[in-house]
């Protein structure tokens, strides 16, 4: 692949901590290779800032191979930047041209408060899982794995939902900051599998209640979440969760 170097202007959100208001700072970088990843470009910028005695930019990242779900930047108005089905860490600089200005913000949502600069607190997702995103089976209680055949189609659909990396891009992309795609992916995975049946109803009710409690918004079917999801999680999961929720609600009222 032919590569090229570029000069870029970056407008990056800087915020000292959750109690201090933030603002955009402008930075200039040069000799950025088209072969770098977007986060490597940030590494270069941070090295430059440290050398100049300035404060580097804090951002979340870990695996840098698109699977841990830690990286989270809102780039030029899009969660995870311009490429589809992609995380920031897998975004490469050949997506940009020499001389461009790039605007980088943290995930924006009331339920994801900013910790510092581009880092946000996504512990709300953990609390939603605590509310029911599991199957209650203690270690040692399992029967032989093949004693429980699973229809291949259901297994594959459950796997597609389970591919969610919990990054929160769906929330950041949604104008209502809804977490429906994240929650429905876990509800779907477990509702589709025979192992998930015993807690099927309480699971969806409890997870949705927790989701609302955390302050995520409602779903208005714009599908922005699906469009920006790095793992291509389908909005069909949201439809499935709505059905599950309705059924479970009716049943619990009848009791």
């Amino acid at each position: 692949m032919e590569h090229y170097n570029m000069k870029l202007t970056l407008k990056v959100w800087k915020q000292k901590n959750s109690n201090t208001p933030g603002n955009f700072e402008t930075y200039h970088v040069s000799d950025i290779s088209s072969e770098m990843s977007f986060l490597e470009m940030f590494d270069v910028l941070n090295e430059q800032l440290i050398t100049e005695g300035k404060d580097p930019i804090a951002f979340d990242h870990d695996c840098r191979e698109g699977i841990c779900g830690m990286c989270s930047m809102y780039i030029n108005g899009r969660a995870h930047g311009p490429w589809t089905k992609n995380t920031v860490c897998q975004l490469h600089m050949r997506a940009f041209k020499d001389g461009e200005t790039i605007v980088v913000e943290p995930w924006r949502a009331a339920a994801f408060p900013v910790i510092k600069d581009l880092m946000v607190d996504r512990s709300a997702f953990d609390r939603i899982i605590q509310a029911g995103g599991f199957i209650s089976v203690n270690t040692g209680n399992a029967v032989d794995a093949n004693s429980l055949p699973v229809d291949k189609k259901d297994a594959d659909t459950a796997f597609d939902a389970a591919a969610c990396i919990g990054c929160g891009a769906c929330v950041a992309a949604c104008k209502n900051s809804s977490a429906m795609l994240f929650v429905s992916a876990k509800v779907s995975q477990l509702a589709l599998l025979p192992q998930g049946q015993p807690e099927r109803e309480t699971r969806v009710l409890n997870m949705v209640t927790q989701m609302d409690k955390e302050g995520f918004g409602n779903c208005t079917n714009t599908y922005a979440c699906e469009a920006e999801c790095p793992k291509g999680i389908s909005v069909a999961n949201i439809a499935r969760m709505n059905r599950e929720y309705l059924k479970a609600g009716l049943k619990s009222e009848a009791k």
Partner: protein, 658 residues
Amino acid sequence: MSLDSKIPAGEMDKKWTDYKGHVKLVNPANKRKLEIIVVGTGLAGASAAASLGEMGYRVKAFCFQDSPRRAHSIAAQGGINAAKNYQNDGDSVFRLFYDTVKGGDYRSREANVHRLAEVSNNIIDQCVAQGVPFAREYGGLLSNRSFGGTQVQRTFYAAGQTGQQLLLGAYSALERQVALGSVTMYSRHEMLDIVKIDGKARGIIARDLVTGKLERHFGHCVLLCTGGYGNVFYLSTNAMGSNVTAAWKAHKKGAYFGNPCFTQIHPTCIPVSGDHQSKLTLMSESLRNDGRIWVPKQKGDTRKGVDIPEEERDYYLERRYPAFGNLVPRDVASRAAKERCDEGYGVGTTKMAVYLDFKDAIIRYGKIEAGKTGNEEAAHHTILELGKAVVAEKYGNLFEMYEKITGENPYEVPMRIYPAVHYTMGGLWVDYELKTTVDGLYALGEANFSDHGANRLGASALMQGLADGYFVIPYTLGNYLADEIRTASIPTDHPAFVEAEKEVSERITKLMSIKGNQSVESFHKRLGKIMWDKCGMARNAKGLQEAIVEIQELRKQFWSDVRIPGDIEEMNPELDKAGRVADFLELGELMCMDALNRNESCGGHFREESQTEEGEAKRDDANFSYVSAWEYKGDSNWQLNKEPLTFEIVKPTQRSYK
């Protein structure tokens, strides 16, 4: 101190059953009074914390990431082994045990490996019960594939995301315990020291990475599940945050370090593209089932891969190892790639890469597909289309990832690959109960040294992490805690906690007060280069001796000229990184010492002085059939203790793949 591995007496296949039958138990009422600290929440840590919480213990779990779901176990692609023999192809606990001991080049402990093979089946059952969506056949039963050149199909998988699915299973079990109140989770926390009282591990000093404040936490025992230390090389397939700090602090508090030089270099990774490179990405080993590895026959050939005709290509693995070809074990494949590149046959702009080519596989599969529809005379482009579809189904996500990173389409041009640091077989020395040489301090998963010897087989890391957490520690820990039921929780104003916190605090203040001119990253890069050049795929006495001096010099520079911006009591990623790099700067020296001491080649450890006439690794059982367990004695000062290895069942032979 003498090393007691506490291997139970009796026949190999009865040891674990006998142990479980006689181990001490803790009654439920007492479990509620006992507190356990678990550091790290990858496969080993999350499964241990969840299982111990379920049993009724009070657990505190710590991770440096923002959620336990991010631990680097999540990035494992290929699969997890188990001796289920669902494919009726002759697999058994014995075969899995045998393959693992042999694959580890006879440098692991037989009894531990046998136990690992025994519990492997329970792991699959447990994960399926949790809702882990493993790949299935049309009949609804679980699917298997072969992996890493074994002769049976024993690998369970979930597309190329097996680690992710297993970790999310363990994470869900952990979060369930958090909801039930038996586990308290501390994310964005980093363990910075072990607290010892009367010779026993009794807690930790942790730093809240958001506020920067130090915290004291008591536990009747401490479990380190903190992964491997591959990032000592700077460039590796590990996550950016993966570090040795917890294990290293434990080491300095008396835990011996086992076989630190045993590093796995994985042959199929995307090569370095320039100085900006921050990490390396693995391409699953499964690609070698269909891809052919080659370099040009002509040195310094500047033509593009596709322009080099067949007769001018050197399929060097097929040439050197006709019996195994492209499927030789990881250590052998990695060294062969390095040899070709060092000789000047490398490809790509950096010349530090070899080709992994799918052209033949595409044509082969294309012809089969055309044949299925009776289209024997299909045009070449139709065959290519059909073949690409088959390859896409098998490896689509990997090909996509390759294209995102390199901008090249591997369906059209050969992939470029090069070996990269991937896993560390070495780690804290533990006995059969997973206890380190410090009483009450345990190490699980990649953080310990015990099961993989000098080379880990594919799909075995996930197995070991979950074995330790779900099925080993719940038994062995009780044997220790049964004697602790009279120990009341120790208040954290105890002098040992005060002293430990003071030491940690002083070190942080010292780091921040250096105010030098060079960034943490620049030191880490230089350390990585020393390690890669002199303690990497091939090692020799001269290079290792030089490396030790260079690392000492670099460490001195670090402590006098590192620049860390920001403050202590705030979110400060540069400070977090500085502490980790400072520990890597000490570990690197020990790795070189260990590699220097081990004047034999075994598994991933290749000493140039110890090779056959054909350039293959030569083991020296007469002199080196032991585990090196290093005891910390102060700055640059270690004492070597040896745990002799005896092989009752699997008799050592020289591995040959010709």
